[in-house]
């Protein structure tokens, strides 16, 4: 028996494992549930066992629909299945990871339910029954609180790596439901490949060296790569350096790129536009190097050095 009025997290696979954002959402949802049932909803093939991972993060329920149709299922197929489950069980709140996949499915579900969806939230909490979704807007220059007062369920997608995932004890009830959605003949998957992407390594990295316009020289970048190797750090960039052939948008930290929360971030030649700061503000230790002592990045940093990034990189290379 699936609980009504529950808070649902739509689980997502990343390759063969459950996506980190799903686990992060489970942890956050438990913290704000205040007596509400927290349920993970999972669409998977009979060969998959995502519920085992989900159970370790303490949901009250795991709703599992298994069907071969979910092998390479289209957005439409998945959204229709989710909509059917939601209509049948009437949860109060539905959260998606604001991943490309979550952001593709959520609005399809939203439209079928004719309800409200807030995209890409950085925070959310309840006021009685009302979910208050906090989302940045205008390149993270403003924050908005968005609510959906009159319709249910209320929906939001939440930016990955905004919350930490913590394992939790507790016996999740696993509810197995019949899949009802059919395969989508108008959208046929021909090929899928897991990317060995910088995104994954960057968003999960413990240490990051980030390069900006002030470090945009071949020699400096080469030096940084050597220092990063020695430190075991990943290399990220701010927006201007994605124009270089040796960096891609996936190595970009910030609003339009990846949000990171490493133990250490060393910013070299990054002035620190708001859109960049938001992408790294939850880093534990922030050290920044800039020629301009008044660059906005400096007050966002635990330690600062005013000067040419090239000089510091050279000195670091010597010492390592």
């Amino acid at each position: 028996m699936i609980t009504k009025d529950a808070l649902w997290i739509v689980a997502e696979f990343e390759g063969t494992r459950i996506a980190p954002v799903t686990l992060q959402l489970l942890t956050k949802a438990r913290a704000i549930a205040n007596g509400r049932t927290v349920a993970a909803v999972l669409l998977e093939t009979p060969a998959q066992t995502g519920e085992e991972t989900l159970a370790q993060y303490g949901p009250d329920e795991i709703i599992v629909a298994q069907d071969e149709a979910f092998q390479n299922a289209s957005d439409r197929t998945q959204a229709e299945q989710l909509t059917a489950l939601i209509k049948a069980n009437q949860p109060n709140t539905i959260l998606f990871g604001a991943t490309p996949e979550g952001r593709s499915l959520a609005p399809r579900v939203q439209d079928q339910l004719e309800t409200g969806l807030t995209a890409d939230c950085l925070d959310f909490y309840y006021e009685q029954d009302l979910l208050v979704a906090v989302k940045p807007s205008y390149g993270d220059n403003v924050m908005c609180e968005i609510v959906c007062p009159d319709r249910r369920p209320q929906m939001a997608s939440v930016r990955p790596n905004t919350f930490a995932a913590k394992k939790a004890t507790g016996a999740a009830r696993i509810e197995r439901v019949d899949a009802t959605a059919a395969a989508d003949s108008a959208c046929v998957m021909q090929k899928t490949a897991v990317k060995i992407a910088a995104t994954t390594s960057l968003s999960g990295a413990r240490k990051i060296i980030a390069l900006g316009r002030g470090a945009n020289k071949d020699a400096v970048i080469e030096g940084v790569r050597k220092v990063a190797d020695k430190l075991g750090a990943s290399v990220g960039v701010s927006r201007p350096l994605t124009d270089r052939p040796d960096f891609t948008a996936e190595q970009q930290i910030g609003q339009s790129g990846v949000t990171v929360s490493p133990d250490l971030i060393l910013n070299l030649g990054i002035s620190g536009a708001v859109q960049y700061q938001v992408g790294m503000s939850s880093s534990k230790l922030v050290i920044s190097v800039n020629r301009d002592s008044k660059a906005p990045i400096m007050v966002q940093s635990d330690y600062v050095w005013t000067g040419d990034a090239a000089a510091l990189v050279a000195a670091l290379q010597d010492l390592l």
Binding site: S74, P100, G116, L117, D120, I146, V194, T199, L285, V286
Partner: protein, 262 residues
């Protein structure tokens, strides 16, 4: 191939201010511009037309000033444009906007492909494309970085979903949202700029479309922006490292050592 590209006019800069009482965006003195991702969608559409023939139709909803953005799009090579403009549309959120656009697309008719930019840079939702697809019960491929026409009924799309890439074959009509990596949008040529003002631009109000009044404007918008505020700039200690680069590097490594990061 008849392609509709849905585009949005966004503020010329993301340095915006808000009316603290009404929570409305203060747009005074700020010229609008085309959402940059929409330029990628138009470029993709124009290239498809160059490959297989057909026409590229722009569609946008907004105030009269949106015509400038539509002219920009026609200067990039689109053939014609529709502007949906009415007081009745004011206050529409993504759901209402998607519904209105879908009704306009039905009226334009005989569409093979509907393209969007991956998201707009003001609100960053990326929701309207999938909503339109759902309204029209069409398949979708979001976050496309390559679109290849296959035959009169099919296109093959490469999607980049961050952790995975997908190659999907869509049966037309279909909805595609386009990533910035898909292409380099062309500059408007001076000749095309001059021609853009002579291409057909049609304005439709709520009276020109078949609309359920409960699904448009504020009535059709379930979400409410109840508060807008500037994010608190979190500041940290900003302790300076020694000025000499060698000493600074040494101090930096000492800090990492002390925090167990070496």
């Amino acid at each position: 191939m008849k392609i509709v590209v849905c585009i949005k006019q966004v503020p010329g800069s993301n340095r915006v201010s808000f009316d603290p009482i009404t929570h409305n965006l203060v747009r005074e003195g700020m010229a609008g511009r085309m959402n940059p991702f929409d330029e990628n969608a138009i470029e993709a559409a124009v290239r498809l037309r160059e490959q297989v023939g057909g026409e590229v139709v722009l569609l946008s909803m907004g105030p009269d000033a949106t015509k400038e953005t539509l002219h920009d799009g026609m200067a990039m090579g689109a053939d014609s444009a529709y502007l949906l403009s009415s007081r009745a549309f004011a206050g529409s959120d993504t759901l209402a906007t998607g519904y209105i656009l879908a009704q306009a697309i039905r009226k334009i008719g005989a569409i093979d492909l509907i393209l969007f930019g991956r998201q707009a840079v003001d609100a960053d939702t990326g929701q309207v494309g999938p909503i339109v697809a759902t309204e029209l019960d069409l398949p979708q491929a979001t976050f496309a970085e390559k679109i290849q026409p296959l035959d009169a009924q099919h296109v093959v799309v490469n999607r980049d979903l961050g952790a995975v890439t997908q190659t999907v074959q869509l049966t037309l009509p279909a909805v595609i949202t386009v990533r910035a990596e898909a292409n380099q949008p062309r500059y408007e040529s001076p000749v095309a700029i001059q021609q853009s003002l002579t291409k057909p631009l049609t304005t439709w109000t709520d009276q020109d479309l078949t609309l359920d009044a409960s699904r448009i404007g504020q009535a059709g918008s379930p979400t409410i922006v109840r508060k807008v505020y500037a994010p608190e700039p979190t500041t940290r200690a900003a302790k300076p490292l020694p000025q000499d680069p060698k000493e600074a590097a040494k101090a930096l490594l000492d800090i990492l050592q002390a925090q167990g990061l070496l």
